[in-house]
Assembly symmetry: C2
C-alpha cells in the first residue's frame, strides 16, 4: 500500500510492504491547503511508478479547504472506530485519469468535545495510532510538540482525550511581531541557551501568569539580564513552562511519549525533566505505521 | 506651567493655572520615539504662544530612544521621591532657539525589581500621581488597561508595586496575525458581544491555561459556537480572564481604580464584576494633574 502524510506545508509518501515496512520514501513540497484543484495531479506525480492500488491519506488533506473534508471522529476512539471513519475518495480520484485503478481513502481527524471548549487534531491521530503497538495496554500520555502542540491521552488502545496548546504559533508571533522582537536577533540562534531557558521555566512557576511573564522578556532586555541571543531561549522556556502544568494535570504518572523533530523534543524533554517527568522519544515516521494499522483494521 | 504628556503615538499639551486647573489643551500627532532630532522644534510648535516658562514632560519622551533617557525610580516611591528623580533638560532645551527662556523637566519612569522578573512603567506613574489626592491614605489598586496593561499598588501615598500584562498587544497580534484571525472579521466590531465575552471569561476559569484556551477560539469557529463577529469578544474575554486572577492576587479587597478610554474600561469593569470586584472609573486627564503635583513637590 501507499501511505501519504499530507500536512499544511508538505507531503511525505511511503510505499509499504505487506508487513508495513517502509520500502521507499518520497517527498513533495506542496501543502494540502495550497493546491486547490491540483491535489490529484500532485499526488499522481509523487507516486508515479508505484503500482500499489491502495492509497491511504492522512493530515490536513482531509480538512475543510483540503481535498476532501473528512468529518472528525469524537473521543474516545479505538483504532477500529477511527478506521471506520475513513472516507472513500473514489469521487475525487475518479476525476483524475492519472489515478485510474487506485483506491484512495482519507483518515479522519479527531475531536474532543468534553472540555469547556472543543479540541481537535488532524494527522496526529494517525501518528499516535502508529505508536499504539509500542505503548501496549494501560494509560499513556503522548505529546506532539509543534506550531500547535498536541497532548493525547491513550487508554486501553483508544484515544480518549486531546489537548492543544498554541505554544509554537505564539512563540513565532512574539518572536517576529511583538515589542519583544525588538530586543532579539532576527535569525533564530542555532543552539538553545540552557540558562535562559531554565530561567524562563522558573519564571513561569512564580504564578504571575503568562500575560505578565511575557513583559518580563522586555524588562530582561531593558536591564541586560541576558544577552540578546539568549532572549529567544528565555521566551521559549516561559511558554513551555506555562504549557506543561495544565497539560500534565490530566496526564498519569508514567513517562511522557514525545513525537517530533529532535531540536523541539530536546526542549520539551528538558522542560519535562524540570517538572519531574521522564520522557520516551519516538521517531517521526509513525504516520506511515498508523496508516498501515488503520488500513489493516478497515480492509484486513 | 505647561504639562506635556508625550507618549508613543501622540502628544497632549496642557496649560495650567497656579492651582493646577487646565486653562488650555492642545494635541500633536507625533510619537515620542518617532521624531528623533526634531523633539525641540515639535514641542516649540505645539506650545507656541504659551508664555509659561516651566515645562514638565512625562511618558515615553523620557525612554531610551526618546528625547532624554530619564532613569527609572525604583519602588516604593512617594511623590517627593519621584519628583526628586525629575531630569533637568537644560542641555536639550538649550540647543533649540525656539525654547529659549523655558525650563524643561522630564518625569522619570518607575521600576519594580521585587518580582522574579523586573517590571517598569513610564507615563502611568504620572497619571497615578495625579490620582493620589482622590485616593487618600491606605492601600489602593489602580489598573490602567492598554497595549501593556499596568496594575499599580499604592500604599500611604507611595507607589509600591507595578505589574504589567501584555494583554492588549497579544490581542492585536492574535487578532491580526494568528490562525485565529482567519475566522474573524478584519475590522473590529463596533460593539462588544457580551455573551461571547462572558464565555471567554468562564473558559479562562476552567484551568486549562491560556495557551490551550487560545486554541478554543479556533474550535469555537470550527464548530460554529459563535458567529464570526463575536469571536473577537470571546478572545478578549479569554485574555482578560487570564490577566485578572494573578493581578488581583496582590491587590487588596477594595475597589479597583480604572484609568483609560471608555470602551476598554467597559470591558475591564465587566470582567472585574465577574470576579466579584467593584470599580471606580477616573478621567484620562490625570497626567496633567500628576505633573502639576510633581512640579509643586519639586519647586514648591
Amino acid at each position: 500500500m501507499i501511505a501519504i502524510d499530507w500536512g499544511g506545508s508538505n507531503l511525505r509518501a511511503y510505499r509499504l510492504d505487506e508487513a508495513g515496512r517502509v520500502l521507499e520514501r518520497r517527498r513533495g513540497d506542496i501543502g494540502a491547503l495550497a493546491c486547490s484543484g491540483r491535489h490529484g495531479e500532485t499526488l499522481a506525480g509523487v507516486i508515479a511508478g508505484w503500482k500499489d492500488p491502495l492509497v491511504v491519506l492522512s493530515g490536513m488533506i482531509g480538512a475543510r479547504g483540503g481535498w476532501v473534508e473528512a468529518p472528525y471522529v469524537p473521543c474516545p476512539a479505538s483504532t477500529d472506530v477511527l478506521a471506520a471513519g475513513m472516507v472513500d475518495m473514489a469521487g475525487q480520484a475518479g476525476a483524475v485519469p492519472a489515478l485510474a485503478g487506485r483506491s484512495l481513502w482519507c483518515v479522519p481527524g479527531m475531536a474532543d468535545h468534553r472540555g469547556q471548549s472543543a479540541d481537535v487534531m488532524r494527522g496526529e491521530e494517525t501518528q499516535v495510532t502508529g505508536l499504539l503497538e509500542q505503548l501496549g495496554p494501560g494509560s499513556h500520555t503522548v505529546c506532539l510538540p509543534g506550531t500547535h502542540s498536541k497532548w493525547v491521552q491513550v487508554e486501553g488502545g483508544a484515544i480518549t482525550r486531546i489537548t492543544t496548546a498554541l505554544t509554537g504559533e505564539l512563540y513565532g508571533l512574539l518572536r517576529r511581531h511583538s515589542i519583544l522582537a525588538r530586543s532579539m536577533p532576527e535569525t533564530e540562534p542555532a543552539i538553545l541557551d540552557a540558562r535562559a531557558f531554565d530561567a524562563g521555566l522558573a519564571a513561569a512557576r512564580a504564578g504571575g501568569g503568562l500575560l505578565h511573564d511575557l513583559f518580563g522578556v522586555r524588562t530582561a532586555a531593558l536591564f541586560d539580564r541576558f544577552p540578546a541571543e539568549a532572549l529567544p531561549s528565555y521566551l521559549s522556556g516561559l511558554l513551555l513552562g506555562h504549557e506543561l502544568p495544565p497539560a500534565l494535570a490530566s496526564a498519569g504518572d508514567g513517562p511522557v511519549h514525545l513525537l517530533g523533530n529532535d531540536a523541539l523534543l530536546d526542549r520539551y524533554a528538558r522542560a519535562l525533566a524540570a517538572h519531574g517527568r521522564t520522557v520516551l522519544r519516538h521517531r517521526e515516521e509513525l504516520a506511515a505505521a498508523g496508516m498501515y494499522r488503520l488500513a489493516r483494521a478497515r480492509f484486513g
